[in-house]
Symmetry: C2
Subunit: 364 residues, 2 copies
């Protein structure tokens, strides 16, 4: 049995709490002889800043590059609101994405039947919802240069950010979306603002050409990002796979996640390109953030974090059946009515982070 | 009685249909001796392109500058999908915004009690919703240079858009938000992505400083744009005034409008700075777009368009009571159960665009 090299980066806020439960699942899988792991742990975000003044150390970056998969918690919090721009918690996350070339961010928004009531939307609008947002993750305004603030004198400053996209960046993320659509409901919606942005014009052109060249069997739609935000609220089930740039993807995937009413349930994958040996860098993380307001209380929902491990087993570690088994255990626990506070209907009892972890391990 | 110089730019799609109903309201107001207008009409968007190859003519730009207010319908449609970038329908709208220096876009998202059921959200989430998005409208990535597509050879192109904000641009839009908050529930939420964008860093800094200097009586919050998108879906009533940049404002205001379930109901105002005489350029338009799919069928909802005239009467023409009167007529028509197709519950009868116009004129 192959031993999987994992790097666990718990990060800040509720990150360490939910990562604890992942470790318990890992321990159980090893004990049951279902998988074998070589685990490293590192620091990222505010935790790394506190330890060594950078949002991730060179040593941890090296571990990330050597790992079969990185399992990432969450970063950020008010404690680091005033640290320098280059060492802010998010910089560690962005460096991981950029240096590992994790250009493809897969964010499923799935509404678990048992949880449809938790959504702020009407049950009929979200029941059975299953969309996949494919977000470009290493380009666009996140990394484009110039990215500066200049003092103009007279009390005036000028801030500049630059959105840059090259053909190949759009092409490779669109290919990921088309391939994934083929394994699902065969429909891709590409989103940009070609009516005001040149990057939107190029985006639409490249996606259209790639479609015509190699994916005619997949249905392709184009939708402006503002209109997509509206339609996601109105009737999200009209979508299957949505492909969009880094910044629109940031906003639209959070929107889509919140439609399900249970953002504490949703894992995500960030993938690089496969090399000749079929190996690709990868990082798995919950869609939710560090939630500083509830950190330390032991009430965070560990399901998205445990689901991220399952995604890693399926997409990076070649152990799809073990992933299935974890996901079934999660579903069983939900069916049994176990709820952390975020997904418990108002006025009903909820269980702690570790009780949820225990329940999942027991269901395994 | 002052005669108001209005320029009507109906535009494309359902624009001309809903503008017809505005004209009927104008005619009624004149006949009733409640207001006096000097009306000009012009072309914008695809209609202008078809007539003279530009998305707005110089003559119509001159009329817009001379007007007390511009009443704008909507632009765009598949017919003009392949015209050049500089003459696309949206270019006319963007030129009006830029050349009239309409930096402040006010987009109310109000849920009419009679229509709460039309929302895809649970009634308790949206009933009584009343938020105001204050969107910066003449800066950011919409207008920043460079904005180019370059051929790199080897089949590769590079697209660049530039987000630029100067201190004064942020300051003046934030001031509008604070002033408006004072007339409402006294709370401003400022939104950006300071964790990845330098413009977000400057935005947050300028808003914070202006607040400390002149608006300490107003409650101020900062929220990342992705997180705001989520929170708008989860519990929108937590907000009063939201101030944000051009691109985030585009997406978030459409999202907020759709929460109400009746985007065909929502007007918006775009305002310039007041000159020494207190005169400011202004344009009023429905939040909805040109809706090419239903254009020509006579089923579009004219209420947002008529509401835009009411907003113009209140904010630019000094006739607040006449505005009240129009808004009361709209409310009365809704209370009487009259619905266009977009706001009629499934399976219930709906009335046409002109029947809705007639009902409102009769209620007046
Ligand atoms: C933490 C932040 C930099 C990040 C982003 O903007 O990409 C987060 O919002 C996300 O979506 O993963
Ligand atoms: C038509 C388009 C250029 C415009 C924009 O992006 O600003 C529209 O979406 C709006 O919000 O008024």
């Amino acid at each position: 049995m192959a031993t999987h090299k994992l790097l666990l980066l718990a990060g800040d806020g509720i990150g360490p709490e939910v990562m604890e439960e992942v470790k318990r699942v890992i321990a159980w899988l090893e004990k049951a002889g279902l998988a074998s792991f070589a685990i490293e742990e590192g620091l990222v975000g505010g935790a790394a800043y506190d330890a060594h003044g950078a949002s991730i150390s060179e040593a941890d970056m090296a571990l990330a590059k050597a790992a079969d998969a990185v399992i990432f918690g969450a970063v950020g919090g008010p404690k680091w609101a005033d640290v320098g721009y280059d060492v802010r918690p998010e910089a560690g996350l962005l460096r991981l994405r950029k240096d590992l070339e994790l250009f493809a961010n897969l964010r499923p928004a799935i509404c678990y039947p048992a949880l449809a009531e938790a959504s702020s939307l009407k049950p009929e609008v979200v029941e059975g919802l299953d969309i996949l947002i494919v977000r470009e993750l290493t380009g666009g305004v996140y990394f484009g240069e110039p990215k500066t603030i200049t003092d103009l004198g007279n009390g005036q400053k000028r801030a500049i950010d630059t959105q840059v996209y090259d053909t190949f960046e759009i092409e490779r993320i669109a290919a990921v979306a088309f391939e994934l659509a083929r394994t699902r409901r065969n429909k891709v919606t590409s989103s940009e603002k070609h009516n005001v942005m040149k990057s939107g014009v190029l985006w639409k052109e490249v996606v259209t050409q790639l479609h015509a060249r190699a994916y005619k069997d997949v249905e392709l739609d184009h939708q402006l990002a503002d209109s997509l935000a509206m339609q996601l609220v109105r009737w999200p089930k009209q979508y299957d796979v949505i492909v969009t740039d880094n910044l629109f993807g940031d906003i639209l995937s959070d929107l889509a996640a919140m439609l399900t009413g249970s953002i504490g349930m949703l894992p995500s994958a960030s993938l690089g390109a496969a090399d000749a040996a079929g190996r690709r860098a990868s990082m798995y993380e919950p869609v939710h953030g560090s939630a500083p307001d509830i950190a330390g209380k032991g009430i965070a929902n560990p399901i998205a974090m445990i689901g991220s491990l399952a995604m890693a087993l399926r997409y990076s570690l070649g152990q799809g059946e073990v992933a299935d088994r974890i996901e079934k255990a999660i579903a069983a626990v939900l069916d049994a009515g176990k709820r952390t506070a975020d997904i418990a209907p108002k006025g009903t009892p909820s269980i702690s982070t570790s009780a949820m972890g225990t329940a999942i391990v027991e269901a395994l």
